[in-house]
Symmetry: C2
Subunit: 311 residues, 2 copies
């Protein structure tokens, strides 16, 4: 596929995942501390060199279930059996693989996903992976959409509805772009047309640093605003094109973009925030909702691998 970034830009060259850090070449060993992996203790090219898809999500249980689901979907040996946590030596993140698919948890919020992504991108670099697509499959609050809808993000925006991510570097703020791969988003939307039992749409995703006050919830330990002010804010977000709210997409888009990874964000809405704040659906309903992005991504990966009869 054509490299659309300027040649001077960091990113995938000939499909390789690149890091832009001149210090890394000088290090004798790279300890990926929070993943409990390292260049001297593990043969990363042998373990990960053939990875083509990386799927990330907040919850470790959900990402284990996704790896098991992908084993079945790809018809892999061992399907139905338990999968091993590659990062078992650390309880910061969980990592599983199913064929060419890596499934990793990232916890909640920008700082947590950011640590994981730095170490994952170095892992893909050390492993000499090529042509990797990375997708965040998550949960979110919807905005003016039915609970259970799946949103494919076209642009991740901050709490002022701007497509930017502010990264502090040595005490100074650096502003980064949060654009995601538009072709990949369209490809995912096309896949969704074969799954008619839930609505899928493309829209902006707002990313916040806080679940309660930051997302205008009335049910936190602190709340200083009225229901009217909350709805006024959420309606302004809707008018700016926001269709769901979560807590990782801007940092994910910025970091993956800078390293040239083709990236997408696909989240299910657990509720419509214009209707309420509390997530009150039953465990069973929520579990089925959380499977929707997984089913969409499985269809996408099967299609990419030529496993679909209609392909």
């Amino acid at each position: 596929s054509a490299l659309t970034l300027p040649a001077s830009y960091l990113g995938q060259v000939n499909g390789r995942v690149l890091v832009k850090n001149p210090h890394l070449d000088l290090m004798e060993e790279d300890v990926l501390y929070h993943l409990d992996l390292g260049t001297k203790t593990h043969n990363l090219p042998a373990m990960f060199g053939d990875i083509k898809f990386v799927c990330v999500g907040g919850s470790p249980n959900r990402m284990r279930a996704f790896a098991q689901f992908m084993q079945r979907e790809l018809g892999l040996a061992g399907a139905g059996e338990d999968v091993a946590d590659i990062c078992a030596g650390s309880d910061r993140y969980a990592m599983y693989r199913a064929g060419p698919v890596l499934s990793i948890s990232h916890g909640m919020g920008i700082p947590s996903i950011s640590i994981m992504l730095h170490e994952l991108i170095k892992l893909l670099h050390h492993a000499k992976c090529r042509d990797v697509t990375i997708i965040r499959i998550g949960t979110s609050g919807g905005l003016g959409i039915e609970a259970g809808s799946v949103v494919i993000t076209d642009t991740a925006v901050d709490s002022s509805f701007q497509p930017r991510f502010e990264q502090v570097v040595l005490g100074d703020v650096v502003v980064r772009s949060t654009e995601l791969d538009k072709d990949l988003a369209e490809e995912l939307l096309a896949c969704s047309r074969d799954i008619p039992d839930f609505p899928t749409l493309i829209g902006h995703t707002m990313c916040t640093y806080d679940f309660y006050e930051g997302q205008g919830r009335l049910d936190g330990a602190l709340c200083s605003f009225s229901s009217e002010k909350k709805l006024e804010y959420l309606r302004r977000a809707y008018d700016a094109g926001v269709r769901n709210i979560e807590m990782e997409s801007t940092a994910f888009a910025a970091l993956c973009g800078l390293c040239g990874l083709k990236a997408a964000v696909v989240c299910v809405a657990l509720l419509d925030r214009l209707e309420g704040d509390q997530i009150r659906a039953s465990h069973e309903v929520l579990w089925e909702y959380q499977q929707r992005p997984q089913r969409l991504i499985a269809a996408f990966i099967r299609k990419r691998l030529g496993l679909c009869p209609t392909d």
Copy 2:
């Protein structure tokens, strides 16, 4: 103990944990979603009404180990046996109890600890807890101190070394104080004098949104600065009184302060950042380091409960 906050201020009145959210009283039910607890599904006063100490830390395994350690230290029945995860229905956080001590994991970073604290503070409120002390026992990077040193935070500061936490509320930034309880910090330092086998000190703790670029590390997937610029930044932090760096203390201090919880932050330094970036000590050494804040807090709780012969 005297209430030093003005009467109009939210906080503990007669020792009660108070929330300042007028909407909560109007809710028929409060679902603490990420803890998998709720006011209708659980008898929170019966489950938690006698809690006096809440200890929080990033890693679920470490917080389970702390609960087991406290069971032994307090001479409780069941000591040595496994402890049950009270939040087993959610894999976002893990929660254990040992007598009057609650031990909870909060994941990594401000957004993650913030979700947990909102729900924990509401839990303590619903459970009608009184005179609760909350302590974060964590890991950190040291600054000009020996690896393995334990830092008791007097003030949590941001990446510009300012004692403030910026909270976005409906898209606007609200600045909050990050002061911690000075008497509690001194009480903890006094306890440390009985544990001579590791150094303990009081200092400022810098809290960042990122582990790599935000803390001036040279070993992330991205790094745009030189080793000299890094050391210049870290030395400025040292000169401002910073002795360690972690990723939760400002939000923890701000939220607990606003709700009148007496709060402390006690973190072990896993390395000296003036010496390097990578955490390369063995699992065994790191495990022993991580027990140091736990041992200090155990001594403090035993003293508070009158379980020390010298008390």
